[in-house]
Symmetry: C2
Subunit: 189 residues, 2 copies
């Protein structure tokens, strides 16, 4: 992976632009310019714009799956793994303030466009949902695990949205702390 082939470079550039400017608002010309190739060369690697979108979504899923695996490997407990999830809000703070959550913003855009790839974007949510559910199950939360997973996902999405609306205020850090405190009460209860 991360081969320096033109195809991989296209996916990397598209991934970035789709996040920073949105999918519809990113043209082939924009991506081609960022990669440093001509628009025509584009179509040798991808027949349609939707194919690039699919490739971007697949890569995002793969990257996040690896990240989630690593969190499980490096954490001492499921609670610590979930805390890692909450802390990505802080790790990506600057980007979230500027562009929101990449998962939520792409899904929201594709859903509004009624785009065929909406399902693929939802899969990224699913990845986190299922991973979080497993961690809560390991914490002994049983039937409540899925509810807790969705709750935490929703809280994170809301924090990202408001952090973008009020990027200069210390809102994101405060809410991340509240989420970590919430995690403690869940662990105790």
């Amino acid at each position: 992976m991360a081969r320096n082939s033109t195809r991989e470079n296209i996916i990397t550039a598209a991934d970035r632009l789709f996040y920073e400017r949105g999918f519809e608002n990113s043209s082939f010309a924009d991506v081609a310019q960022l990669v440093g190739i001509s628009r025509g060369n584009f179509y040798y690697h991808f027949k349609t714009k939707d194919e690039i979108l699919d490739a971007v979504i697949r890569r995002r899923i793969e990257e996040r799956a690896r990240m989630l695996d690593a969190w499980v490997d490096t954490s001492q407990s499921p609670k610590e793994s979930i805390a890692q999830f909450i802390r990505i809000l802080l790790m990506n703070e600057e980007k979230i303030r500027r562009y929101g959550c990449p998962v939520g913003s792409l899904f929201a855009e594709l859903a509004k466009l009624n785009h065929p790839a909406e399902g693929g974007a939802r899969e990224v949510f699913n990845l986190f949902r299922i991973w979080l559910r497993r961690r809560f199950e390991e914490m002994g939360k049983g039937q409540a695990s899925d509810r807790l997973a969705l709750h935490l996902l929703a809280r994170s999405q809301g924090v990202a949205m408001l952090a973008r609306a009020y990027p200069t205020e210390p809102f994101l850090e405060r809410e991340a702390e509240e989420l970590l405190a919430w995690l403690e009460t869940v662990a105790e209860g």
Copy 2:
């Protein structure tokens, strides 16, 4: 207001389409067709597409300001007013599941487009923020009022996002109940 003039009809149609399909994805042709006028007639009422967007945002702010005033008038307590705010998730459940929150989705789109009207879209958030802050102040929450207002706004946004991602699941009702329970604990604490 709600005059049946062509101008008002255009704003109404644009408001709906911007919500259901997004701003960029709604063309003049789409709006004109919904209103039942020609594309050319359009430019007699609005010189640019951005002017329509501004008019839509202004109307949304006015409508919501009236709604918030009405909630204060019909509620017995500030807590009851805030509960009304939470219940709009349930009142608009079907639309939220299909199109998300109109406030959040328009703001997110304009922010990603780096559109000049992003500030106007943020004003809708501000309207709710300030209103909620006042209610919490009336509940005696003092300096914590703004933090509580932003927290509730973020929670609502997150619920709307996940409700759109999982529209067939009973997620929204459950989270609305949790928010009402949260409001009780805030009132007691």
